[in-house]
């Protein structure tokens, strides 16, 4: 088969296409976005009629994938780590219903928060739901694991999570493909009552899930992704999870580490393999990308008198942030090297609005209107416009989770803060802002919701926005008064009239929606380029 230079995300997408995928659902989020983008560009996806959709949010994506699995076909759903919080209700219950066609849930964590609000570790969700979790250590393994994930999902009748992190997602390497598998035929579940989680059924299904744990442990110990690698020096034993294994082996170019190593790429943690390591080593170093999940399990509540556990909790590895070769080398006590220090002349270069971005004109309008009221009356949300927190704008006072600008504006208004504003993007609004707006309307809350509509999901690279062409009808349908739904064009030449219009809505003692609408300059440029090529 041919070789391809693929990102980890792309390797997963190609793996899914080759493993008989019938449908993929996702909401864009760094570092997971490129999985869906790859499928949407792939010729074999259209040739084989693979369904692909940017869903309204991660929960609708997860449920659509479950529906496809119910009908017997292989489905994948992809999201960033915080997206799994949105989809958690569906996620936890799919472990109980089980699946029919293979269901692979790909979750991309972002340790060090390169592009995220937190660095939560999705392996805890996998443990919480009691389902198999795969954590590939390199891109080829990620590709191969997609085949295994679908196979084991169908064999056990359980969803399987693949947990990756930023460096896996966004690092490129040569991928060797396997022969393609055919898609599953449409085949409804033989026992459809499993999907009806009424208490009487749910108790039966939950006990079944508990009974399956033995088999999950057996898979983790025997299916080959977890490996015990003997070493000659037993003064230390190392447990290296996923990518951490690469940072470990970077220090041993010959390919052999002197200490025994347990390489973990599949969960639940295989206890017999851990015992194999602890039976020969009394000092154990745990290297894991993310939270100290395995280290905590190994420590338990009480210290083991004859065993020393090193890792993020002991201080051998920093408690937060992603791993790298230097951190791992330090934990191993190896000499470190570094080049010249960064000269003081180097200034920080944080992300900024693109030249000509409509958000920039919008924030100038908001700032002028809000000037008499003092700072901290404007809530923000997740997207490019979050940069309105930074100088020279300093407009926003929050960025918490998708949709929170709307409902925080409501709560603060309820507390008596006046005026109270929320700024939310078009895609973020249809993701999780609509329901919050319904709360405001029902309660006649005096708050102004500004929708920064750039006609795309901008921050993640310009994916289709579910809001496109339907924002006004959504707001009117939810019940906003037509007089208090206005659309403005954020251009410098309209600044004065925009200020007047926004001012009137801010002074209105009820819910209002102000849409600032101008296409993202990046998507506009891309559209112009592809038009030129035609």
């Amino acid at each position: 088969m041919s070789n391809y230079l693929l990102l980890g995300d792309e390797a997963i997408a190609q793996g899914a296409l080759d493993a008989g995928l019938s449908g993929i659902y996702a909401y864009p989020g760094t570092p997971s976005t490129e999985i869906m983008e790859y499928v949407q560009r792939a010729k074999e996806a259209s040739g084989r009629a693979v369904k692909s959709m940017w869903s309204a949010n991660e929960k609708t994506a997860m449920e659509s994938a479950l529906g496809m699995s119910y009908a017997g076909k292989r489905a994948m759903v992809c999201m960033k780590h915080v997206g799994l919080n949105v989809a958690a209700d569906a996620f936890m219950n799919i472990a109980i219903t089980g699946v029919n066609g293979g269901l692979l849930i790909v979750v991309a964590d972002d340790p060090s928060m390169h592009s995220s609000q937190n660095e939560q570790d999705s392996r805890y969700y996998g443990q919480f739901a009691m389902i198999p979790v795969l954590e590939p250590s390199h891109q080829q393994e990620a590709y191969d694991m997609v085949f295994y994930g679908f196979e084991v999902s169908e064999r056990l009748g359980l969803p399987v999570m693949m947990r990756i992190t930023t460096r896996m997602a966004h690092s490129r390497t040569v991928i060797h493909r396997k022969p393609e598998l055919a898609q599953n035929e449409l085949k409804l579940p033989p026992n459809a009552r499993n999907y009806v989680l009424l208490p009487a059924n749910a108790r039966v299904r939950y006990r079944h899930l508990l009974d399956q744990q033995k088999e999950l442990n057996r898979c983790a110990a025997q299916d080959g992704y977890n490996r015990f690698l003997p070493g000659t020096d037993t003064s230390l034993g190392i447990i290296a999870c996923g990518l951490a294994y690469n940072y470990l082996m970077e220090h041993f170019p010959s390919g052999s580490c002197p200490w025994p190593v347990l390489r973990i790429c599949q969960y639940p943690v295989p206890v017999p393999m851990v015992e194999q390591l602890t039976s020969v080593c009394s000092r154990i170093l745990v290297l894991e990308e993310g939270y100290p999940l395995l280290e905590q399990q190994l420590r338990g509540l009480l210290p083991h008198p004859s065993r020393e556990i090193l890792g993020r909790l002991s201080g051998a590895v920093p408690r937060d942030g992603e791993l790298n070769p230097r951190i791992v080398g330090h934990a191993l006590g190896l000499p470190s090297q570094t080049g010249q220090a960064v000269p003081p002349i180097v200034a920080n270069r944080p992300p900024a609005f693109c030249n000509g971005c409509g958000h920039s004109d919008m924030f100038k309008v908001i700032n002028e209107v809000m000037e008499p009221y003092g700072p901290n009356h404007v809530f923000g949300d997740i997207g490019c416009y979050t940069l309105g927190f930074l100088p020279p704008y300093n407009t926003l006072s929050s960025c918490v989770d998708m949709g929170s600008a709307v409902t925080m504006a409501k709560g603060a208004a309820d507390a008596g803060m006046s005026p109270s504003l929320g700024v939310i993007g078009d895609s973020t609004f249809t993701h999780s802002g609509m329901t919050g707006l319904l709360d405001l309307i029902i309660d006649h809350t005096p708050a102004t919701i500004i929708i920064a509509d750039n006609a795309t999901t901008g921050m993640t690279g310009g994916q289709e926005s579910s809001a496109f062409g339907r924002l006004e009808s959504i707001c009117l349908g939810l019940g906003i008064h037509p007089d208090h739904l206005i659309v403005l064009l954020p251009l410098r030449k309209h600044h004065e009239e925009n200020v007047a219009a926004l001012k009137a809505e801010v002074e209105y003692a009820g819910p209002s929606v102000v849409i600032f609408r101008r296409e993202c300059v990046q998507t506009a440029a891309r559209r112009a380029r592809s038009k030129n090529q035609e």
């Binding site: 070789n3 230079l5 990102l7 760094t30 570092p31 976005t33 490129e34 390169h114 592009s115 460096r167 896996m168 966004h170 690092s171 490129r172 390497t173 040569v174 990518l243 690469n246 940072y247 470990l248 082996m249 970077e250 170019p253 390919g255 790298n324 070769p325 230097r326 080398g329 470190s336 090297q337 570094t338 080049g339 010249q340 220090a341 960064v342 000269p343 002349i345 180097v346 200034a347 920080n348 270069r349 944080p350 992300p351 900024a352 609005f353 693109c354 490019c384 940069l387 921050m459 993640t460 690279g461």
Partner: protein, 197 residues
Amino acid sequence: MKTDIILAGVGGQGILSIATVIGLAAMKKGLNIKQAEVHGMSQRGGAVQSNLRISSKPISSDLIPEGQADVILSVEPMEALRYLPFLRPEGWVVTNIRPFRNIPDYPDMEALIPQVEALPRVVTLDADQMASDSGNARSSNMVMLGAATPFLNLSPQEMEEAITEIFQRKGPGVVQTNLCAYRSGLEIARKRQEASR
């Protein structure tokens, strides 16, 4: 054979187009490659880098360890200095001297450029000017690639084949201007390398 390259620039400057050519040339030669990229928030005008590792042996880490990069290839002068902790003592810095000013506290050029030029092994060039001179202002990244080629353990012929393959679908004219830009960069680096011997 092993080459660890840090590509540096500002989000939007297209450093990944350089990585694409090097990656293709290395892949056609049957070498192992790992290329860690920055996607997401920093792409909006922030500092971005890509770790490109090429080796005849399997590569473990996606990230280049500190003090081990063979080359820093920067399309912007201040960004060239940001990754010095990653450069090994005998490593080379190849950088464009055309600044990308999108921050209020960008340093004075009179202070910045001498610091860049004082580095022990450095190739500096005005890639934007050279790209314009060779007929396409937008091919400055190919000028930079040319200037870095002597330090990458890949031959100019291998690079030119990769450039040709990548730009082929845009037409022979585009291939030619990119090759022309590439060769002008290569020329500068060879002269500088000879002078330092």
